[in-house]
């Protein structure tokens, strides 16, 4: 067993971040090199770790971190299939995006800061992935949130970016509050915060949580709701698009937002204890989120926001899959989604770059001829996202839909509807951006750089082949309850295993494509607002969640604030009174302060005389 290797995977990005921050802030070339190098080496080492796993390496390494009373916390590295898979995704997709960023962010005054933050994020995300206990996970969880904050607010001079960063941070905090409460509850009930320890205890005594089973599950789920932008805390993710596009691709599409789903899979055993109804809630929240976000995505005009809502929608799928008791399907979709959504975001970044920072899709058009490589890779990503056979998205989405088919017909219908909507809004995007007539001149720099092209191509290949590498089979042993042994390379397996789900999924794609073609193939502007004004307004208003929250916050916060303010004024009055009395007596006494020495002497003598008199007469 090679001990330092796993540590190196984790610490290399951290070292890169530290070195860049301390020494290389004025050296863009080296900082980029260091950051990219760190994540690349981490990726290679992760691959080595994966290899070692097949030769039977230790699944867990831990050192004692702290012990306070009964609370014992390790700092551990968990190296089971689940975290190994995530390690590869984070470092692999991360490496592609880092390389892309070298060119994309070039010339920005915050270039080195960008790479320092990216490296720090990579470190934190890897920390989340390898954590073997709740406390360590939570620490990295918060670190990830911090990096997200820093990178959304990368252009902090823009008020919109600064606000979005704040919003993301605060919304996440809301979910994390529940998460932390859940962790404390778990510890209070079981006395351990380690995943393995807890799992063992639950295996021995499934009634451990007793009546709290559902509560524990839901509280832990709160953390995932915040991080993975599930309803009702989904509002932060679209705004997070104010950050640079590689950040959107890396953090807000491929990795960090998937951390919620990863968490659910990591602690899945909590949800399956006797008497827990949490999974039911999880699946419904996931399904609702998927539908809601897909609907909103229909009427967005900003290319990145469409993708952001699409991300929320796909995360909804994954959460729904966990809710069906099918974590392998969720992780499968997480993986393929990381590939194609990162690809789509990087493609969108290339489009935005080519359009001189124009993000409105209605200002674009006919980019197919101008940036053919971006167009082709973007199309691959779109097809994969829409679940077209035999691209990766088909298999992962089908796994989820098949799970839905077995569990809840209502949610299966929602899933199919979302699949239809996904195809519709994605091809709306594709038709408007890459086809039609050009609406504004191309910017200064059409894509030529290889640093931009390679990541796109690599991710496109991954998006195509991601369905065949046996991700489900790799993770499935961790979840003995849901083992379905399927052959690794089986392009036609879904049609045999769950034909309804597979065929309906493809039908949804065909219907969505046809609808999008009818509406948008030659559209100069969006026809929907004219045809369905009410619905369109509702969707453009994003179901008015932001406004609703603003109102709720106003009510829930302003009312107590007013009461407290009244209380405060009372105290202020009291303070004024004390202060006024003191001041008044001070002013009166000041009259005696003439500054004349002899007056003082006289008063002193009189005082002494008085005291003497009093003492002698009594």
């Amino acid at each position: 067993m090679n001990l330092p290797l796993p540590w190196l995977v984790l610490l290399l990005p951290l070292m890169a971040a530290v070195v860049i921050t301390l020494f290389l802030l004025r050296n863009p070339r080296f900082s980029a090199l260091l950051s990219v190098g760190a994540v690349l080496v981490s990726f290679l080492l992760s691959a080595v770790l994966m290899g070692e796993y097949f030769y039977g390496s230790a699944p867990e390494i831990a050192v004692r971190w702290l012990q306070v009373g009964r609370l014992r916390v390790d700092f551990g590295l968990c190296l089971d299939p689940l975290s190994l898979l995530m390690l590869l995704i984070v470092t692999g997709v991360g490496a592609a995006i880092h390389i892309y960023s070298v060119e994309h962010v070039r010339g920005d005054p915050g270039y080195t800061r960008f790479f320092a933050c990216m490296s720090l994020f990579t470190f934190s995300m890897l920390g989340v992935v390898v954590s073997n206990n709740f406390i360590q996970l939570f620490v990295f969880w918060e670190l990830v949130g911090l990096c997200s904050y820093l990178l959304i607010g990368f252009w902090f001079q823009r008020p919109a970016a600064a606000d979005a960063a704040k919003k993301a941070f605060l919304t996440n905090r809301l979910g994390d509050f529940g998460f932390l409460t859940g962790i404390i509850l778990v510890w209070a009930l079981s006395g351990t915060v380690s995943f393995a320890g807890l799992k063992q205890q639950l295996a021995i005594n499934p009634e451990l949580f007793d009546t709290m089973a559902t509560v524990v599950g839901l509280l832990i789920f709160c953390g995932a709701v915040g991080k993975s932008a599930q309803f009702p805390l989904h509002v932060w993710l679209p705004d997070a698009m104010e950050g640079p596009t590689p950040v959107s691709a890396f953090i807000h599409a491929a990795t960090m937002v998937a951390a919620g789903v990863y968490l659910l899979c990591r602690v899945f055993f909590i949800f399956t204890v006797t008497g827990s109804g949490a999974l039911h809630v999880v699946s419904w929240i996931g399904g609702l989120t998927a539908l809601l976000a897909a609907l909103i995505a229909l009427q967005q005009d900003d290319i990145k926001r469409i993708l952001a809502y699409s991300t929320i929608s796909q995360l909804g799928y994954m959460v729904m899959a966990v809710g069906f008791g099918a974590p392998p399907a969720a992780m499968f979709h997480l993986t393929t989604h990381a590939f194609f959504k990162a690809l789509l975001f990087l493609g969108a970044g290339a489009v935005i770059h080519a359009m001189s920072h124009e993000q409105n899709i209605w200002m674009m058009g006919r980019l197919r001829d101008k940036i053919p490589l971006t167009y082709r890779t973007f199309l691959v990503g779109t097809l994969a996202l829409c679940g077209v056979w035999p691209l990766s998205g088909f298999y992962s989405k089908d796994a989820i839909l098949a799970a839905a088919w077995h569990n809840s017909k209502t949610l299966f219908a929602i899933g199919e509807l979302v699949a239809f909507l996904t195809t519709f809004y994605m091809f709306r995007l594709v038709f408007v951006v890459f086809f039609g007539q050009p609406k504004s001149p191309l910017g200064q720099h059409p894509q030529k750089s290889r640093l931009i092209a390679y990541p796109l191509v690599v991710l496109a290949v991954a998006s195509v082949l991601g369905g065949f590498i046996g991700i489900t089979q790799f993770i499935a042993p961790l979840f003995p309850a849901v083992t379905e042994s399927a052959p690794v390379f089986a392009p036609f397996e879904p049609f045999k295993a769950a034909p309804t789900a597979a065929w309906l999924g493809l039908a949804a794609f065909a219907a969505g494509l046809a609808a999008a073609f009818l509406c948008y193939a030659r559209a100069e502007s969006d026809p929907l607002p004219a045809k369905l004004p009410g619905l369109s307004r509702l969707l453009r208003g994003k179901f008015y969640f932001d406004e609703f929250y603003a109102e709720v916050i106003a009510l829930g916060q302003d009312a107590p604030a007013a009461v407290l303010n009244g209380f405060d004024s009372g105290i202020k009055l009291l303070v004024r009174l004390v202060h006024g009395t003191v001041e008044l007596s001070g002013r009166l006494l000041r009259l005696a302060q003439t500054g004349g020495l002899q007056v003082y002497t006289l008063l002193l003598a009189a005082g002494v005389a008085l005291v003497l008199y009093l003492m002698l007469t009594h």
Partner: protein
């Protein structure tokens, strides 16, 4: 003639003390005030010496010596201060030295 007793000394001492205090309060010139202060000290000395004599206790006289010594050094310091003050302000009148107010 009644022999001179403790009371006589004390009366003289009180008179001297009050004269000194009066001088401190009413006179305007710092030097004169200073002299009046010395007068008050010596009034106290007289009282202490008288007590010492009539109570057959030497402690009072010891204190008198202390007071004389301290007064001597105090005069040195005080006079130096007055000279310095005069050099700075060109006056030794207390009405002009009313900086001790808000």
């Amino acid at each position: 003639m009644t022999p001179i007793g403790l009371q006589h000394y004390l009366v003289v001492s009180v008179l001297l003390f009050c004269l000194g205090l009066l001088g401190v309060i009413v006179r305007r010139n710092l030097l004169v005030i200073y002299m009046s202060l010395e007068l008050m000290l010596n009034a106290v000395n007289l009282a202490l010496a008288a007590f010492s004599r009539f109570n057959n206790d030497l402690d009072g006289q010891v204190i008198v010596f202390f007071i004389i010594t301290v007064a001597a050094s105090e005069v040195a310091v005080g006079l130096a201060l007055i000279v310095a003050l005069y050099r700075r302000r060109q006056t030794t009148h207390v009405e002009d030295l009313a900086a001790l107010k808000l």
